[in-house]
Symmetry: C2
Subunit: 381 residues, 2 copies
């Protein structure tokens, strides 16, 4: 049993910790099992890791998962229970109770996001505590091989970013819009180039942002339609490796054509804020300190946040098996620890100027941060 | 308010139904909001649909979602609460309680998979019932535009399937393995061709199966390494459209080289079982009846299920915003209704022969089913 989990169980007087879900979206379950499944399964983490899967998944789970033991719901007569229960969820809860009995579990912990319906059923026969998942904390600190996996994903993201930037650089201004090969250069076309590049590298692009002009003033808009000339285009790529399952995250802002002095100033300020943020990241510094350093630069340079404009989001977030995970580099961010992987991504957003965001991905180390991002920053391409 | 939801709330004495999660994995939330977000948000379904999102998502949610109203967690001072709470989840539950107060909700329903931690917090101030999501039931019956979206995704899957089959057909047997252009033809290479084709069509391939020989005898093995000659290769493609978010699902089994009489017989039997299943699907037939018809063919033809071999899974499942959703065509399958979209996918699996599975996607209609799959079946290519 991993040390931290063992201590956690002891401390809370638990036999085991139970997860129920699917490991495409539940990163804790994937972290513990290394078993990727889109259908619901149960994972019992204690002295051993035990999985409960459907009979259809039994063979694959035994082959692919890192669990010590894999049991099947058909051992607990799921089909009979489905026939005699009013709802499939009831049948599943009955199977789960028998499974826990078989594993000699009486006192169990479940995570905050555990299904409420199953919680209520299990409560009748077991002592159940709802607790923060011990694994989410464990996952914050990346092992060297996890950092390597994240860095590899970032390399794939950088190759895709370069292709996107090259596409924009090789376009030409036709009036207020960019054009290439006689056709408008659209967000969709650039995004497609990014997605193809990521696929070639064995990654999936989840929700790539290629947004120019006014659209870029909304930090989460994906971007649609023709891209503007002479205005910043924000490209935010957060790919996930299909093999390792680890994410990376990076943003660049580029402009094709003539940059106004206001836009150049906006870009320089974001650059300076990012530098201040990168300087501040180290073990022991708090996420809120890093965020304040970045905010201070904006404040000092005359870009205060107001009415939904300016620097409207936090400075960064952890990246791993989830694209947004702990820790936070925001107002409530706690002390940073060596081995955490975080983004540093200040941005400024104004409807009249558009948006500028720059994002690198770094590892927290003892006296500094180590940047996993190699791609340079450059506004005009 | 949609009719079925309104009736459901009345019947259960509820003001509203509350969802908390993210709409990449929670299909009900996407169905109701048409707002795609990877970060947690709340959706309150009642007379109106109201979203609670982070301030960062506010602009996008207001633009993109179909909700009547969008509020932001910063209106409820999430940052202050994060600072004063022990855990982020506690702070979120406090925000949620204020949000519900603002929406004048007192008696609320939550789905079975609602986060247990939030359920426990809300229970203190509200009357909370855990119920099967009314939307999951509503989602079973597809509107014409949903069927159209699924059919379009199936077209993309078929184009990818054709490319995969062409790749295998144009390979040659080198000893026991397939080879193409002087290199072994691997599961990975065929899968890559499928993924590229799907990407070109604006789809993502979630976990495409290309498995030959012994690997195909495990119905969920994805397949790795060189593909065998003279043995069945199972190709199961379940793409999702990135724009509509609807899945499709289809399986073909092909063989390059010489098919033994046992394999030909296996294939013919699965074909016959699939025909029997397709004939049985219509409004009013139960999923378990359809499944029994298919099982009977296997039984009659001398392929009983035993020791994890034979027909080891159910006949089919619903497909929509989830790749596996209700209804089930299995032992506990209930009455089918017009407008449901289901797979019919019998298969036979034996370690010595390999696996054969054939899967079409059909719409349940009054007196028959309508097949959304156009691609023919053919073993030897």
């Amino acid at each position: 049993m991993p040390g931290p989990l063992s201590a956690f169980l002891d401390q809370n007087g638990l036999d085991s910790f139970l997860y129920v879900g699917e490991s495409y979206s539940d990163a804790d379950m994937y972290y513990l099992s290394r078993f990727l499944a889109g259908d619901r399964f149960a994972l019992l983490a204690g002295e051993k890791t035990t999985l409960l899967v459907s009979s259809m998944e039994l063979g694959r789970a035994r082959k692919e998962s890192a669990a010590h033991r894999v049991l099947s719901t058909s051992e607990f007569h799921i089909t009979d229970k489905l026939k005699s229960s009013k709802r499939p969820d009831e049948a599943y809860a009955l199977v789960l109770a028998e499974f826990l009995g078989r594993c000699s579990v009486k006192r169990l912990g479940v995570p905050y996001n555990f299904p409420a319906g199953i919680y209520r059923s299990l409560e009748q026969d077991f002592s159940v505590k709802i607790l923060g998942s011990p694994i989410a904390r464990q996952r914050e600190i990346k092992r060297p091989e996890e950092i390597e996996a994240i860095a590899l994903t970032q390399r794939a993201g950088e190759r895709a970013m370069k292709k996107a930037i090259r596409l924009i650089a090789s376009s030409e201004a036709r009036g207020e819009m960019l054009s290439r090969g006689g056709e408008p250069l659209t967000s969709e076309r650039v995004r497609r180039a990014i997605e193809l590049s990521l696929l070639e590298d064995g990654c999936e692009a989840v929700d790539t942002i290629v947004a120019g002009g006014e659209q870029a003033a909304d930090p989460h808009a994906r971007g649609v339609g023709p891209l503007p000339a002479n205005a910043p285009i924000v490209i935010d790529i957060f790919p996930r490796s299909k093999s390792s399952r680890y994410f990376a995250d990076m943003t660049r802002t580029v402009l094709k054509g003539e940059a106004s002095s206001e836009v150049v100033e906006l870009y320089r300020t974001v650059e300076a804020a990012q530098e201040a943020g990168l300087q501040a990241v180290r073990e022991g510094a708090t996420g809120s300190e890093v965020h304040r350093r970045v905010s201070d630069v904006f404040q000092e340079q005359g870009y205060p946040e107001r009415e939904g404009c300016g620097f409207t989001h936090s400075t960064g977030h952890g990246v791993g098996l989830e694209v947004h995970e702990r820790p936070s580099l925001g107002e409530a961010g706690a002390s940073l620890k060596s081995g955490q992987v975080v983004t540093v991504e200040p941005g400024l957003y104004y409807p009249d100027l558009g948006g500028v965001r720059l994002e690198d991905l770094v590892v927290v180390e003892k006296d500094r941060c180590r940047n996993l991002t190699r791609l340079q920053r450059k506004l005009v391409v």
